[in-house]
Amino acid sequence: MDFEPSPEHEAFRRVIREFALAEVAPYAEEWDRTHTFPLETVAKMGDLGLFGLPFPEEYGGSGADFTTLCIAIEELARVDQSIAITLEAGVGLGANPIYQFGTDEQRQRWLPDLVSGRALAGFGLTEAGAGSDAAATGTKATLDGDSWVINGSKAFITNSGTPITSLVTVTARTGPDEISAIIVPAGADGFTVEPAYRKMGWHASDTHGLVFQDCRVPAENLLGERGKGLRQFLTILDDGRIAMAAIAVGVAQACLDDSATYASERSAFGRPIGSNQAIAFKCADMQVAVEAARLLTYRAAWLKDQNRPFKQAAALAKLYSTEAAVGATREAVQIFGGAGFVDETPVSRHYRDAKVLEIGEGTSEILRLVISRGIGLPI
């Protein structure tokens, strides 16, 4: 057994940590407060090659493994989940479907801009009436001559309304028992991006509802095989779950670091609060959770990199790590006391941001369902 990351993985982790501390950490509080999507920082992440990490060089990517992407996402999440989810969704949900299922022409047309971070893409699966039950998709697309005509709506779509969003891939019914994926370019006729949601966290991440009213796109915008849309999207989510777990690991680590420091520095009753077992043990439990989450996450990434089955491992990693992260943010706020409840400390932002980790890309309940089925239970 060998759990040693390569020297290159370690060197890359140091670069991203430095980038996160210099280019993200000083601004995260302001972006959160002002609900700013930080375009300039996204461009810098693009220059650093982050949006192209797992894609081949022919599209401008770095040809890195999935583990490398998880390292970048984890390190960014340590300082700001919004920026981490922008990367996670940009790569995992935006560019990945085009790369996995696109034709040569579709890849040539869309990937270079997505991979360089000059553009972002959204992934439109969820609808007001179809979340966990994604097969309940009500959006319809009908072929009219050489166009698809799309009618319906999508809910909670990440990166769908930024100034650099170039497309959203959406699932739509193309027949009675048939769901297909279609590429909708930004600005297509009949495609409306609704105003951003008011969210509890992830304030610097871009989330919109989308409306399609007789939205016309060329017939060749079908992504992958007709009728395979849902299955394709679910495959994409398996990758996404590992990357979401990587965000969770970063958050939990940040909470541990901040809590340990604060518990040593903050005094009450004439001694550091960390000299009470009630506080010290919270930190100890947090470290157990961080390490377990990290192992599950990087093992799932490793399985994927080895081209081995990883669906179950991804579900385990996402479920455990996101719940560990939510627990860590709750305990960190508790350790910080009142200071943890006001927005001047990062732990308060982490707390608000973390909750959605248990919801997006498969809720904890749906993951337990996936895992139970993986065990072979009749559920």
């Binding site: 290159e8 060197a11 890359f12 220059d47 060089e57």
Partner: protein
């Protein structure tokens, strides 16, 4: 242009450091980092090489360790490195260092040599000047801006009051201040490429230099604790007292 950049690996400034009790030298861990000030030199070198379709070679003297710091500079984009790691040079003074680096630079061949103004762990701040002298080429020091103007190099030399415009024709040595350029972050591709870039590890002898350390550190003493400052209680006139103190210190 053929650019040679002098770089140094130093112990990570974020971790506590220790001195060897016998020699008083800084104890250097296996994994050292690229001196922060050298990132500006490397970036400047890469910029010049990109403008002139040239190349960047790194020259470094000191314990090689894992070469982590050198790989950092290679990951930024430098083409190759020469590392002089020689036990006889432990504790070399600045002139000995300059002699060794000069030999390596001459062997590489150069149009421009770039260095930071001073290292973060040694702070002598005279090695680049000595190199220029030994190479017998002009020194363009304390550059806060560097421009290539035809076949001349023009720099803005940072001074206390502003800057001097200084220029020279290559070959020349330039020292750069932090802020001369914004160092790039190494990309993943850069990190992977650095794995296979040549790193030539040589001894001083192989460069034809016979030089000894040249100095001995007799003793190291802690700097005196700073005396506690004066606390001014504000009873409405504290600003007057502060102005008075600043005037006494000839700050205003």
């Amino acid at each position: 242009m053929r650019v040679v950049v002098c770089v140094k690996q130093i112990p990570d400034p974020a971790s506590p450091f220790e001195l060897d009790p016998d020699t008083h030298f800084l104890q250097r861990p296996e994994d050292q980092v690229l001196d922060d000030t050298d990132r500006y030199g490397v970036e400047m070198g890469l910029t010049i090489a990109e403008q002139t379709e040239g190349s960047v070679a790194l020259v470094s003297m000191g314990p090689a360790g894992s070469l982590q710091g050198i790989r950092q500079a290679l990951a930024m984009g430098a083409d190759r490195a020469v590392v002089i790691d020689d036990p006889n040079l432990r504790g070399a003074d600045s002139l000995a260092t300059a002699r060794v680096l000069t030999a390596a630079i001459s062997r590489e061949g150069f149009d421009v040599v770039i260095a930071g103004t001073e290292s973060t762990d040694g702070y002598s701040g005279v090695v680049p000047q000595q190199i220029a002298e030994l190479l017998n080429v002009p020194l363009l020091s304390f550059a806060k801006k560097v421009d290539l103007e035809g076949d001349r190099i023009r720099i803005e030399r940072q001074t206390d009051y502003g800057f001097d415009l200084v220029e020279a024709a290559p070959p020349a040595v330039i020292t750069v201040t932090s802020g001369v350029v914004e160092p790039r972050y190494p990309t993943f591709k850069g990190i992977m490429a650095a794995k296979s870039k040549p790193i030539d590890q040589v001894s001083a002898g192989e460069l034809g230099v016979t030089t000894a350390a040249g100095q001995e550190i007799v003793a190291v003493r802690a700097a005196p604790e700073r005396a506690a400052g004066e606390v001014i209680e504000d009873e409405g006139d504290a600003h007057l007292r502060i102005v008075q103190l600043l005037e006494q210190a000839k700050v205003i």
